[in-house]
């Protein structure tokens, strides 16, 4: 069997990466060269990952998971602090964020664990095991503290539980737990600035120059894009110039201002193609591990896209979740491309008889 990549999937990835470079270059943050380096590295990792088949991946799952937990513990001890979060290893001029890579191993570990469960329903022990496999890294990431990245682990657990099969009663219990957890978090865990962010979503005019400022500027920028956008280089009046996260969390707002509704649809269309191809793989593979793996990656990317775009249009609070493949940031880019590569590997080896 010769090497074959899914051309639609590759096309979607390249469109998103190209748009992200265009956007970054327009913002003139001097980070384009750096991001291009990360892209080259990420595409290489994607290629390598696509050579692994399901058996190799499931064998890799547990050692990789242990290594990731060790790295997360290590970063708590030796990491460098950025914006109050101790989440990076500094290596030369670059920084590496282990929490972005640990998510990959959680995908592998959960898929491997759930694939071993007999039948189409999960037992209590299975749920506990899956919960621990996801919960330990999440707790370590929460300790950094990095709520945004920790939140991106949850859709993976949720999808594995959903596909693995939970009885209806369990969902009700989970829902109740979630509600109680949210109430507890609101009362005792969340800081005031985080509560303000949530409240401004419900009432945008609440504090337009404080907590609501970023979202307000984001909405102004997106809205001013109108149908065809203000063009790159002419959106100079927008308040986005002063947003520190304009090339990360709010990169999509910059894009929407410059290219308008047409450009926003085109970019979201590329994500739709990407997710559709991943879903097709999940539906087409012949083993449960491959299905779970592809579905987890699907959920991961879909969750980040929805939460980020939802934040940019003012529907969701600012959480620090970036737009995958599009926002600036090396670790997230490489780990997302690696995940897509693994899905490709699953697809390429689906016909192998075993």
């Amino acid at each position: 069997m010769g090497y074959r990549f899914d051309p639609w999937l590759i096309f979607a990835v390249l469109v998103i990466l190209g748009a992200s470079i265009l956007n970054l270059g327009y913002l003139d943050t001097g980070l384009v060269g750096r991001q291009l380096l990360w892209m080259a590295l990420g595409l290489g990792v994607m290629l390598v990952a696509s050579f692994l088949d399901g058996v190799a991946l499931s064998r890799l799952a547990f050692p990789a998971w242990i290594a990731a937990v060790a790295a997360l513990a290590g970063v708590l001890a030796f990491g460098t602090v950025r914006g109050g979060t101790r989440g990076w290893f500094a290596l030369g001029g670059f920084t590496i964020q282990p929490s972005e890579f640990a998510r990959l191993t959680v995908v592998l570990a959960l898929a491997a664990l759930a694939a071993r469960v007999p039948g189409t329903r999960l037992g209590v022990k299975d749920v506990a095991l899956l919960g621990a496999a996801a919960g330990i890294p999440v707790l370590l990431v929460l300790a950094e503290p990095d709520f945004g990245v920790a939140a991106t682990y949850l859709p993976i657990l949720g999808v594995v539980l959903w596909i693995g099969g939970l009885p209806r009663a369990a969902w009700v219990i989970l829902l109740l737990c979630g509600l109680v957890g949210a109430a507890v978090a609101w009362q005792w865990v969340l800081a005031d600035y985080q509560k303000e962010r949530v409240l401004t979503v419900l009432d945008p005019s609440r504090d337009p120059y404080g907590a609501g400022y970023q979202v307000r500027q984001s909405k102004i920028a997106v809205g001013s894009g109108e149908l065809v956008g203000m063009g790159f280089g002419r959106g100079g009046q927008s308040g986005l110039r002063f947003l520190p996260a304009r090339h990360t969390d709010f990169a999509f707002a910059v894009w929407a201002e410059a290219t308008g509704f047409v450009g926003s649809l085109a970019l979201l269309g590329a994500y739709a193609v990407l997710l559709w191809r991943i879903a097709r793989i999940a539906l087409g593979v012949a083993d449960r591990f491959g299905l779970l793996l592809s579905a987890s990656v699907f959920a991961w990317i879909a969750f980040e896209v929805v939460v980020n775009v939802g934040m940019v249009v003012g529907w969701l609070p600012t959480t620090g979740i970036t737009l995958p493949l599009f926002s600036y940031g090396g670790s997230s880019l490489v780990s997302t491309l690696a995940a897509i590569g693994m899905v490709q590997g699953v697809w390429r080896h689906r016909m192998v008889n075993r």
Binding site: T120, V159, W162, I163, G165, P208, Y209, G210, Y213, Q217, K219, I220, A221, V222, G223, S224, G225, E226, L227, G236, Q237, S238, G239, R241, F242, A256, G260, F261, S264, L265, L268, A272, L275, A279, A282, L283, V285, A286, D287, R288, L291, L292, A295, F298, A299, A302, V306, V309, G310, V313, W315, R354
Partner: protein
């Protein structure tokens, strides 16, 4: 080999996920359409009328005090005018408006807003507005939302011209300043000279900034982010303001310089150059006419004579000549020379200032009466090859280190210099001139003060400084023994205390020192120097210290074209030393032999 499992139920769950995402995606697209297409024009209008501005928050510049805690430089609030170029509808219209307000001529305004750095950074158009200008700008706010009046500071120097050269002055950054330090906030003041320039980093502080939302008329709607400024640190100088005042009063309206040092540490107590200027005029923003008047003044009030005035040292060089003679063994403490009023060397006749002749002159008396013939003879015996290094040892010909960028190095001429700088060989007669502090030998007042400080402290050359912790490497030991200094110190003591001393008018003050009268032009026989034009008159020097045995203060006084050192300069030094001894509570003059 495993049996192929039935994945049907699992696939159904994946399909459910897909449907859920489709619904959410559809809602997001609807929301985007609503924002961008339906409400788009409204948001774009809001973008026009909701601008974000970065407003600099200026730190308070550190105050400067003298060693007694008296204020030398402080601050007063002032209105600054900022211009946000990106917000201007027509720059030509804006600048015409400002020119009509009398802020500056149009060409000058264009210069001030010339682009640098980020296009959205504000430009400082005026450092100080009058109240009328503030009102006029406020009244036209809706026409010119790009203009903003902010609170800044004006530097004030309560003592005016008294320490102008030493303190320096401040100005708004020039384009060169911004090239050197691109992080300078618009509107911050930078030191242009003196202590203000040298201590810029400490005095300036760190500017903060505010991110504000303004409406279409430039009114602030709210503050998004605020980083407070860090004020500059205050600075205490070693300068002694009362002493400086005494020096200025003693010098009167004559041009000249007074430098006083603590000989042990090199701490500068007085640094006065006259005539001076008012640094407050710079802070206010000087008119071109005012500036030209200062620059073209024939007395050069902007020149710091203490550090940059290079003068022939005249007879004040004699103690260093004598030590060079003693150290090299050319003379001994008991060597004598017969002074008949002149001496003929190499066919030229060199005259002593005392045309009647001093008779037999030994080393100590040569200093007491300042006999030129003694030093002509000594110079001839030493030769320039020994004189030049002998003088450089005491710091002549090099910058003292007080302000390396502003100081002049003076000059110790030698044959190598003559070939290089003048393109002609060194004539032996030049050596004889150098021996009495004339010819290609130039020194600044601070250099002479420093050299005498070393003399007073047994050959330890200090580095003059105004800020204690900013002094470069400390005292340089010249490695001289007491024996070669002793007769010279005794000679210098006799200058004031001896019956024939050239500065005996200062007796009975406990002062040790040397007078000097430096020729500007060769004096012709029988001309009374008091009647010739000022610019041809001699420069008058006196350099000395007090008290005699435990020197606390060294003073160098130069009176430009002042005539004789004894008459013009010595009384100024006397006044400063008397004040210093009185202020520090030292007893009055002890017994004075002779």
């Amino acid at each position: 080999m495993r049996v192929r499992e039935d994945l049907g139920p699992f696939r159904a769950r994946v399909t459910a996920l897909l449907v859920a995402l489709g619904v959410v995606g559809f809602l997001l697209v609807l929301r985007l359409g609503a924002l961008q297409v339906v409400e788009g024009p409204r948001w774009r209008r809001m973008a026009e009328s909701n601008r974000i501005r970065q407003v600099p928050v200026l730190p308070v510049r550190g105050r400067i005090y003298d060693r007694n805690g008296l204020l030398l430089a402080g601050n007063e609030p002032a209105f600054q005018l900022l211009l946000y170029p990106v917000e201007s509808r027509s720059m030509e219209r804006t600048l015409t408006f400002l020119a009509r307000l009398g802020i500056a001529p149009l060409t000058e305004l264009r210069e001030r807003i010339r682009s640098r750095g980020a296009p959205d950074a504000p430009r400082v158009v005026a450092g100080e507005l009058t109240w009328n200008q503030v009102c006029a700008i406020r009244a036209h706010r809706s026409d010119h939302p790009e203009l903003a009046v902010v609170q800044g500071f004006r530097r004030v120097y309560p003592e005016g011209p008294l320490a102008a050269h030493t303190l320096g002055y401040v100005r708004l950054p020039t384009r060169e300043d911004l090239r050197e330090d691109p992080n300078l906030a618009p509107g911050i003041l930078v030191g242009a000279s003196g202590v203000e320039r040298r201590q810029q980093a400490r005095l300036a502080g760190v500017p903060g900034r505010r991110l504000v939302v303004v409406d279409a008329r430039g009114r602030e709607l709210g503050t998004v982010e605020e980083v407070p400024a860090e004020d500059g640190s205050d600075l205490t100088l070693s300068l002694d303001l009362p002493l400086q005042r005494v020096a200025a009063r003693a010098l009167g309206d004559r041009a000249g310089a007074v430098v006083a040092l603590d000989p042990g540490t090199g701490a500068v107590r007085v640094l006065y150059s006259a005539p001076s200027f008012d640094p407050n005029a710079f802070a206010r923003g000087m008119s071109l006419a005012e500036w030209n008047r200062l620059r073209n003044d024939p007395l050069h009030p902007l020149q710091d004579r203490c550090l940059r005035g290079e003068y022939p040292p005249g007879s004040t060089i004699k103690p260093f000549m004598a030590i060079t003679g003693l150290v090299s063994g050319v003379i001994s403490p008991v060597t004598t020379v017969w002074c008949s009023g002149s001496v003929t060397i190499g066919g030229h006749t060199f005259r002593c200032w005392a045309h009647w002749g001093h008779g037999r002159v030994g080393l100590e008396r040569s200093l007491e009466v300042s006999c030129d013939v003694f030093y002509y003879t000594l110079g001839q015996r030493l030769g320039i090859a020994r004189i030049a290094p002998g003088l450089r040892l005491w710091g002549f010909g090099e910058r003292t280190g007080l302000d390396p960028r502003a100081e002049r190095p003076g000059l110790v001429g030698d044959p190598e210099w003559s070939r290089r700088a003048r393109g002609r060989p060194w004539y032996p007669g030049t050596t004889i001139s150098v021996a009495i502090g004339q010819g290609p030998l130039l020194a600044t007042p601070i250099q002479l003060a420093r050299a005498f400080a070393a003399l007073a402290r047994g050959g330890r050359l200090p580095v003059p400084h105004l800020v204690a912790d900013a002094a470069p490497a400390g005292v340089r030991d010249l490695g001289l023994d007491e024996a070669s200094l002793e007769p010279v110190l005794e000679g210098l003591r006799l200058v004031v205390a001896g019956p024939e001393g050239t500065a005996r008018r200062l007796a009975p003050l406990p002062i040790v020192g040397k007078t000097g009268t430096a020729q500007v032009v060769r004096k012709r026989e029988g001309v009374d120097m008091n009647t010739v034009a000022r610019r041809f008159r001699h420069h008058a020097w006196f350099v000395g210290w007090a008290p005699v045995d435990h020197p606390r203060l060294v003073v160098a006084v130069l009176v430009e074209h002042g005539g004789e050192g004894a008459a013009a300069a010595a009384p100024v030094a006397g006044a400063v030393l008397r004040e210093a001894l009185g202020v520090t509570g030292a007893g009055p003059a002890a017994g004075n032999p002779g």
